[in-house]
Amino acid sequence: MHKGYLTGPVLGALWLVVIATTAAITLSFSTGAAFRPQVLLCLIWGAIAGLVYVRFPMRRAPARLGISALLGLSGLTGFGPVLIGADTSVQAVLVTVVVMAVVMHPSLAAILKETPFAALTRHEFEDAVIRFCTGFGYIFFTAIVVIPFYVMVMTSLKSQQALLQNPLDFSVDLNQGAALFRSYTELFRDFNFGTYLWTSFFVSVVTVAITLAFSVPGAYAVARFRFQGQKAFSRSILLIYMVPMIVLALPIYIAFSVTGLRNSILGIVMIYPVTTIPVALYMLQGYFRGLPTEVEEAGLMDGLSRLAVIWKITLPLSLPALASVSLYVFMIAWNEFLLAFMLLDDPSKFTLTRGVTMLNSSEIPRQHLMAGAVIATVPIMALFLGLERFMTKGLTAGSVKG
């Protein structure tokens, strides 16, 4: 296996399968026309290309460019790596040809760089394999993450009819202008989504506020003071982390039914913080431990009380951590589904997640459901992308929970 004339063709063949599949899926999803990767032909074409790329090590050797161009052009016949359906538009065919050639050349050149034709050292062989895996990994992960979100957004813009006619055709007719967003306007007009959006926002913000009010003093105590039962306390916090929500939801449902708190925003606002306090406390105490005690001791020496020290020294120092925790708690509250689903029945009091669940019925068209999903996703994504740094930190610090 450690021979360039073996490694090259094998990697080339596999790589062409990857590229052809990616191109076929991408083009299918964007045009709705028929594209099919031909695995056997891919393997043959790729093996030839791999051999050529190993044999001619010059970066822009004519043989390399030639085989890539040939490989792209072969798409016009029935013997290319990608089989193009008969009724595909000329532009799509041209795009396929060009993309196959243009992508294949630099990517294969990168994978097989410094790979000699004859015997390979262990390093050269493994590096080539790693480069292949890296390329595959990027394509694979990007595809699995992007495709569902792409489908979600595009479905919400289509009509039920068009969707059933060709589920692959996600091309959007931009000429229809505002009518493109009719699912969204209908959700906001007929399904109260404006109210749900506001309720969700309100509930999440209140949850963040209550969680911080409870967990900041608690976390400080755990991090700074020595007292009996400290270890047991930290452990039970972690333990509470592990109790499944559905187990708690059952008695909470009973208690709320009996006391009449079910179906009220007050009930939701009472219950959400309790699910987030342990997480927040756990995250914050880790951060507080990392703060230097000297600053606080200086404050104490200057005559501040403990509480004043927390308020005037510790909290300002831990603003980044507070931001992370707030974002994380906001995310949990915004995305929460189970409790909202069980405790809210009255459509005027729904949170956004509960509202979207309501859309999952056979009487309501699919694009409404997807539009609801987009409405629920966009705010949290915007927040996430805007404050990615804090969010990532918060996730690493506390989100052993899922």
Binding site: M152, Y220, P244, P251, N335, M381
Partner: protein, 410 residues
């Protein structure tokens, strides 16, 4: 001079500190125990009781009061019924104050009239039993005003049925039902499959993604953010998207498979027996690989690079560096992540519930709690399943704490 020893007794300062600590912790402790400890005890209590959804409203006597008749033949009518069809209510009686300006005719048993105070005692009211009391009256004055007066004054009712929740009858019936038959073992097997493969899959994918991003290049931050999308997006949004994507009739994934010639006809991904379980496991992996990825990446970036330099000097190949350096360094975080994710996947409810509703062989223990309690309306049986889950969790957390005390970090 005696040698100096640190003070062993708790001094005043330490005491004050401890007091302040508990004062700061009190709100958390109280609220958490109200919403976590209390429900946990409640669920254990309920699991030993034959408690169904309809028992949430205990049987109660209901009285309706109305004015009937006309002219000389006027009467106040009380209609009493038991809200439950099966369960008897003890000590049922009601009393009502009749308005002024009314002359009451003959009052029959079980009612007695004391001045203007009417008292009717029924004793025990059987399930579904109805009673009608007619009190003949004559009214002087405005009839309409009087009718309002009668119908707006609520009689006081006493009597309560047995409350299943608070009495001291216990039975093992719920557990017998839960463990009965092959269903339970099926559920347990599904749970184990989902948990084990979901956890390992997410870990392996996370490791792969972390290896990809463990170098700095332009756009690394963007890709890292992108790979976190599945975890950050609301579960309802992504779950419904998957359902739409894999729909047998209008799903794009099926259309793609048919078009590519991989499958000749649409596949019902979330509706067929072994496939649905695999699909929910794949969803779990897809949704939670970002978490493992994030943790593993954070650990990788803290590995001392001089070790790799030394390995390079010794001529180690890339694979050797991975297996002999990276993996041992990551073993700690990998095993902690495995344990935590194992517990959390075991607890997962939302995902499967939204994707399949627990149908087509995807019913895990947590979904079973919901199914028993709400689909079959047997809260007691649901609670029994919940207790089984709790026992498993106690076992897991025992392992976890044995382990975590050795593994620092998390």
């Amino acid at each position: 001079m005696s040698s100096a020893t640190p003070p062993t007794a708790t001094g005043a300062l330490a005491k004050r500190e401890a007091r302040l600590a508990w004062a700061l912790l009190a709100p958390t402790v109280i609220s958490v125990s109200l919403v976590v400890i209390l429900p946990l005890l409640a669920i254990i209590w309920i699991s030993f009781k034959p408690f169904t959804l309809s028992d949430l409203r205990p049987p109660a006597p209901i009285v309706r009061e109305s004015l009937r008749g006309s002219g000389d033949d006027m009467r106040i009518e009380y209609r009493l019924r038991n809200s439950s069809q099966e369960i008897a209510i003890d000590g049922v009686s009601f009393s009502d104050v009749l308005p002024d300006g009314v002359t009451v005719g003959e009052v029959t048993a079980p009612c007695v009239l004391d001045g203007q105070q009417l008292l009717c005692d029924f004793g025990t009211l059987e399930g579904g039993q109805r009673e009608r009391i007619r009190i003949p009256i004559t009214v002087d004055g405005d009839l309409d005003a009087f009718e309002d007066l009668v119908e707006n004054s609520e009689p006081d009712v006493t009597g309560s049925g047995p409350n299943v929740l608070t009495n001291l009858d216990f039975s093992l019936e719920n557990f017998a039902r839960v463990f009965d038959g092959s269903e339970f073992w099926g559920v347990l097997w599904v749970t184990l499959f989902y948990t084990v493969f979901g956890t390992i899959g997410a870990l392996v994918m996370g490791l792969f993604a972390a290896l990809l991003l463990n170098k700095s290049f332009r756009g690394q931050g963007i890709i890292r953010g992108l790979y976190l999308f599945p975890y950050v997006a609301p579960v309802i949004a992504v779950a419904f998207t998957w359902v739409t994507l894999f729909d047998p009739f209008s799903g794009s994934a099926n259309a793609l498979l048919v078009q590519m010639g991989i499958s000749s006809e649409p596949i019902n991904f979330f509706g067929e027996r072994p496939l649905a379980l695999i699909m929910v496991t794949v969803f779990e992996i897809w949704r939670y690989f970002p978490l493992s990825f994030l943790f593993i990446l954070a650990r990788m970036q803290s590995i001392d690079s001089s070790m790799y330099e030394a390995a390079d000097m010794d001529g180690a190949s890339p694979f050797q560096k991975f297996w002999l350096l990276s993996i041992p360094q990551l073993l700690g975080i990998l095993s902690v992540l495995f344990l935590l994710r194992f517990i959390w996947t075991f607890n997962k409810f939302d995902d499967i519930f939204l994707l399949t509703g627990g149908n087509a062989g995807t019913r895990t223990l947590t979904v079973n709690v919901y199914e028993q309690a709400f689909a079959i309306s047997n809260i007691g049986a649901g609670a029994a399943v919940a207790v089984v889950i709790l026992i498993c969790l106690i076992a897991f957390s025992f392992v976890f704490f044995r382990f975590i005390s050795r593994e620092e970090g998390l």
